[in-house]
């Protein structure tokens, strides 16, 4: 017969008493720990922000000496500049169209990839490669592909259509918008795809099984199960992408340089040109504030909608 002896363990006792200074240090040590981060934010974020606010109300133009107070003149210069207004419109239009196409394509790919099949992993890795490429390189690559007369695009189209195609993809309206959208869609559809796929895989498979037993068709199941479940993810993906798309700069810089003329100026490109090539710094700063307000408006709308989507 096996016997076990259990002995009582000695008590651990109360924690040691601290001196008054030790207690004070114990309570306030946390401030010392957060101080570097706070200082860094103050120096690199808060100070430049406040300084830019000051700059937008004074003369800070490299071509005009002095820093006199000019009231709202910097703002009115931007508002009454037709190029500024065009760039804002183009930003909104390009973002909306690109993101809409990316969403539809991303959703279609995600729906295809949600089921497992042989080779899925490899295909998935290939699909998300564009995300790892710098937008500048993406712009370069598309420039090479579309360039006239050496790019292959026109040549392939000529072969396919059986008649000479000589489109100036980076110089002729409306083709240049098409080029910018295609570069953006190529790079960012994988982002939509990844987020929507994550959303799709999070839907409990039981729901589809219950629907199958209920005799619900695939189309009905898509609207009754997939779309409502994916709602928050769709909002998230659209918000992220739109916020990113309205900053569109790199591909424009590389592919069209804003041209021909000012036809492909987006808001970011416009502000860059005014500020860093013409050195009207106070006008560019005022424009940035206006753009910030416009962006904040869009963001607020989107984020409010995002937060309102009900949890399941």
């Amino acid at each position: 017969m096996q016997t076990t002896t259990i002995t009582r363990m000695t008590a651990a006792g109360a924690p040691p008493k601290l001196s008054r200074f030790a207690r004070w240090a114990d309570r306030n040590f946390k401030w010392l720990l957060v101080a570097p981060a706070v200082l860094l934010i103050l120096a690199l974020s808060i100070y430049p922000l406040l300084f830019s606010l000051v700059v937008s109300f004074i003369n800070y133009d490299f071509q005009v000496p002095g820093h006199a107070f000019v009231g709202l003149k910097n703002f009115s210069r931007v508002i009454f500049d037709p190029v500024a207004r065009w760039s804002l419109f183009l930003t909104a239009w390009l973002s909306a169209v690109s993101v809409a196409i990316e969403f539809v394509l991303g959703l279609l790919v995600a729906l295809t990839m949600v089921r497992s099949f042989p080779g899925r992993g490899v295909i998935m890795s290939i699909l998300i490669v564009p995300l790892f490429i710098s937008p500048v390189i993406v712009g370069q690559a598309w420039t090479l592909l579309l360039q006239r007369p050496f790019g292959p695009t026109n040549y392939i189209l000529t072969q396919l259509l059986g008649q000479e195609v000589t489109i100036g993809w980076m110089t002729e309206s409306p083709w240049l918008y098409f080029s910018l959208i295609i570069a953006d869609v190529w790079q960012w559809t994988p982002f939509m795809f990844v987020i929507l796929l994550a959303g799709l895989t999070a839907i409990p498979p039981n729901l589809y099984e219950a629907a199958e037993l209920d005799g619900v068709s695939a189309w009905q199941a898509f609207w009754a199960i997939t779309v409502p479940h994916l709602g928050p993810m769709i909002m998230l993906a659209l918000t992220f992408r739109l916020l990113d798309a309205i900053r569109m700069f790199d591909t424009i810089f590389i592919m069209t340089g804003g041209g021909p003329g000012t036809q492909t100026y987006t808001a970011s490109y416009y502000l860059y040109t005014v500020g860093f090539t013409q050195f009207h710094l106070s006008q560019a700063t005022a424009g940035s504030w206006l753009f910030l307000i416009f962006t904040a408006f869009v963001v607020t709308l989107l984020v409010r909608r995002l937060l309102k989507t009900e949890p399941v």
Partner: protein, 364 residues
């Protein structure tokens, strides 16, 4: 309503052999419970009947028709899932009626049927609510409502009560049993809980490692377990197993534990057993009682015991003591023992004892 006939069913996932040759006949209107430890293949078997898993080998017949190649929707079965699987963006009424709507039933009839199902389950006041506004028990009622509203040939339940707390589980168990009495449709119910299996089933199918270990009525399995596995799985507290040897002399048999000789009840069939065979003696806690009277009754074996550990539940007291060196738990009356260390005579009902071969663990 329909009977189910499963013949030579196998299910493999790659190299993993989940279900290894099941033959099962389920009669029309019968309540069959598939029970077993996790990973025994019971849920897989249920899902193959629903058509949610393809089978690797064998046939499944529902109502005399081979349904191997039928899609789940065409098998006319309804299933209740462990996590309810309600459509979260639909009200209770829409959840229950969705299957009917999908099958193009006229709106008025859908409403009538939904109302009727809700009344049966006592969820009429909840019809306008969303699943997230319901408690676990209410959600499970809705899930059951979604199943009964279609009036399917077979109901399948996949551990429907596992996500509920103990009290609610008892309550819902009673309701499912009543539901079966009322509508008398064939029901197949998967659980790992032996109490659910015992209380609900007309027939228990106890599975282990992808095969059926034993099937029969609950009392069949409980009183005449075919193996130590079945004996240990059913009943709580568990059956006590004591290693010993069989002592046969003429028509008298006994089991020799290290320092005890327990007579086997006369008339017990021990065909094929040999003298000196290593056996396991199975004693259920409820078959040991505090001895009363001068002499033990027919078939009882009396033994003085010193209680090591006492676990009172209020109505009963579980007392652990040593029988020939091995710990044994007995289920005594609440006031039979007052504290550990106490000694008392225990009567062991040898006519109810089970005897298993120690090697094969099968019943003798």
């Amino acid at each position: 309503m329909a009977e189910v006939k499963i013949t030579g069913l196998h299910k493999r996932y790659g190299t993993f052999h989940a279900v290894r040759g099941i033959d099962l006949d389920i009669r029309d209107g019968e309540f069959t419970v598939l029970v077993g430890p996790s990973g025994c293949g019971k849920s897989t078997l249920l899902r193959t009947i629903a058509g949610l898993e393809e089978i690797s080998e064998g046939t499944i017949e529902i109502g005399g028709e081979v349904v191997n190649d039928f899609r789940p929707r065409d098998r006319d079965v309804a299933m209740v899932f462990q996590d309810y699987a309600l459509y979260p963006h639909m009200t209770v009424a829409k959840n229950i009626g969705f299957g009917l709507k999908a099958r193009k039933m006229p709106k008025a009839e859908v409403e009538t049927r939904v109302g009727e199902a809700a009344r049966m389950l006592g969820i009429t006041p909840l019809l306008g609510r969303f699943p997230r506004q319901l408690s676990g028990g209410q959600r499970q009622r809705v899930a059951i409502g979604r199943a009964i509203v279609r009036n399917p040939r077979i109901f399948l339940f996949d551990e429907p009560l596992s996500n509920l707390d103990a009290q609610l589980r008892d309550e819902m168990r009673g309701e499912i049993k009543r539901l079966h009495q009322d509508i008398a449709t064939t029901m197949i119910y998967v659980t790992h809980d032996q109490i659910e299996a015992m209380t609900l089933a007309d027939r228990i199918v106890l599975m282990r490692d992808g095969v059926i270990e034993q099937q029969g009525t609950p009392l069949d399995l409980f009183e005449r377990p075919a193996s130590t596995f079945v004996a240990g799985f059913l009943g709580s507290p568990r059956m006590n197993f004591l290693a010993g040897t069989l002592a046969l002399s003429g028509s008298v048999a006994a089991i020799r534990l290290s320092d005890l000789l327990l007579p086997v009840a006369p008339g017990r069939n021990l065909d094929g057993a040999t003298d000196g065979q290593a056996v396991l003696l199975g004693l259920r806690p409820e078959h040991m009682t505090r001895a009363r009277g001068e002499k033990p009754a027919e078939g009882m074996f009396r033994q003085e015991a010193t209680i090591d550990l006492l676990q009172p539940t209020g109505s009963r007291s579980y007392a652990t003591f040593r029988l020939s060196g091995a710990p044994v738990m007995a289920e005594l009356q609440a006031h039979d023992v007052s504290r550990p260390g106490e000694s008392l005579p225990i009567d062991i009902n040898m006519s109810r004892a089970s005897i298993f071969d120690a090697l094969s663990e099968r019943a003798l």
